[in-house]
Amino acid sequence: MTRTWTRWLPAAAVPVVVAASVTLAGSSAGADELPDRTPEQVLTLLASHDHQPLSGEFTQTSDLGLPSLPGDLPGTDDATTGVLTALDLIDSDHTGRVFVGEQDQARVQVFDTFGERDVIVDGDQAWFYDSGDDTATHLTAPENAEDAEHTQQTPTLTPEQLAQHVIEAADPSTALTIGENVQVAGRTAYDLVLTPRSTDTLVGQVSIAVDGETGLPLQVTITARGQSDPALQVGYTSLDLTAPDAGLFDFTPPSGTTVEEVTPGQHDGQGIAPGEQSPVEHVGTGWDSVLLAPAGTLDLSSQPVLAQLTTAVDGGHAVSTNLLSLLITDDGQVRLGAVPVEALQAVR
């Protein structure tokens, strides 16, 4: 038994092989060369991409630094549940799939461990389905909606003009650069990087991976100032540019599902009627801008869950994350911005 150590070689070799294959898979990034382009040319590419049928899987990872949310709380009203659901969608990690078919067909699936949430759009019909509580919402666009949409789009811009406009509008506040090409979902993409010129915002940089071939946006990454890991990243993990089965967009809610019918534009009381001024104000410019909802919008004492999420600060209660801050002042004004809480407190 002099050479017994050789019997352990396979056990040593396996981790080496695994590590090597993981490294190889990671380092194949940037294998394909793309012609160099300026930010403006990449924006043009992004703006000019044709309608592209596709099916793809995506992941969203978030590290916003929000306090973890209570899962199921007794005595929460619909509005609070809605807020918590929205927060959960942003704050937690998700995987799902996207399908795009003909011109106005799309389906997005968000996977839950034991369920799924689906949004299906087919022409003027839209469905939202949640398998968790077996509910569906059916939206039917008003008859003339499509025409209205078309007339609104009449002053068409060429992609080049659009890119030009975006750059001009962004330039005072944002530096646009092109980073190293990135690999997303096995495709080589330009990395369009938006860096705020302001130092007051919490946003460090936003980068958009633009597919070198089709101009499709493949991944969006938002990094908070002073952080190396992305605060929010949504991107494809696999992408197939063939048209998916048309049957996917033809949704009929399964029997036993609670269906709610909604026709936009026929809302009474809720939402903002056309012509009426939105009560939400906008203060500041660029990345430092702050949204203000007037006093009395939110009464924390009637929202125990939100009260639990916030911490008391000078002048109200605040939630601060790596990217966004929210301040609810004592008189019920809501202030939201990609700035530190101190900047929210300093408004007016």
């Binding site: 056990a11 899987e57 973890s68 034991f114 389905y129």
Partner: protein, 280 residues
């Protein structure tokens, strides 16, 4: 009993003898019986309860059971995957070598030349066959009791799409396949644990504890970087098979992960088993 078989012979003969022993043991059938009780209990409770479970109540998909009896299988497989099934796998794989050593039969099995590697392979194959049979028992009993009590009809997938009975049958069989694959890595871990000791119970307990610990680690957000490397990471990924269009990425990712665990712990078991002194 393990002792009364012929040592040596071809690998096939050795495997056949291993499987014969496995399937003749009262313990194996007791474990099959316990696993089969789960779909039966689930189906009976839903059948006799005054109010059927509402959406999202109880174990996953329980509310869909009344619609299509085949979901009894799926629900039972989901319920057994975290604990009951790993326990039975731990018993079979943890006992594979240690049990023979404990009984004093191991050295008779090793008289054939080049016997150790072959014995290891045969023992693993036996555990793997059990890992396929156990979910198959749950699946078949679930089909039987589900279709008897609730009938076979259309089934609603997680995506809200409705499929016919044939599709539901195929999907639940795929779920069982996913569960079987999930247990392959644990079987390899159990085999390695089994080469470390001559006390079978110790190896079984260690394997079962690892399965639970891995799942607990998988719940901790602070260890997110570790999660894709845990052998339990895709254990509940069978839900991807109930989406429309069907997503095989969970199944294939699981296969790769389990193959990695099989390679690593198989190699460790080889290193340990071929270098240790077999005294009993």
């Amino acid at each position: 009993m393990p002792g009364d078989r012929a040592a040596g012979g071809t690998t096939i003969a050795l495997l056949a003898s291993e499987l014969r022993v496995l399937l003749r043991r009262g313990r194996t059938w007791a474990m099959f019986g316990a696993l089969a009780a789960i779909p039966v209990l689930l189906a009976l409770v839903v059948f006799f309860s005054a109010s059927p479970p509402g959406p999202g109540e109880g174990p996953p998909l329980l509310d869909k059971v009344t619609q299509n009896g085949m979901f009894v299988s799926v629900t039972a497989l989901v319920v057994t995957t975290p604990l009951f099934l790993p326990l039975t796998i731990s018993v079979v794989s943890g006992d594979a070598i240690a049990g023979e050593a404990g009984l004093g039969t191991l050295r008779y099995l090793l008289v054939a030349p080049a016997g150790r590697l072959r014995l290891l392979v045969v023992k693993y194959a036996g555990a793997a066959v059990f890992a396929v049979l156990a979910p198959a028992v749950v699946l078949l009993v679930g089909w039987a009791i589900g279709s008897a009590l609730f009938g076979v009809g259309e089934a609603t997938l997680l995506s809200g799409d409705v499929i016919g009975p044939g599709g539901a049958l195929a999907r639940s069989a795929l779920v069982a396949l996913h569960v079987a694959i999930s247990m392959l890595g644990l079987s390899a871990i159990g085999l390695f644990a089994s080469t470390l000791t001559t006390v079978g119970v110790g190896a079984m307990a260690a394997t079962a504890v690892l399965a639970v610990v891995a799942q607990v680690l998988g719940q901790l957000d602070q260890l997110a970087w570790l999660h894709p490397w845990l052998f339990t990471h895709h254990w509940l990924g069978m839900m991807d098979l109930l989406r429309e269009p069907i997503s095989f990425s969970g199944l294939t990712d699981n296969l790769v992960l389990q193959a990695g665990y099989l390679a690593f712990f198989g190699a460790l078991a080889y290193g340990r088993f071929t270098t240790k002194d077999v005294l009993s």
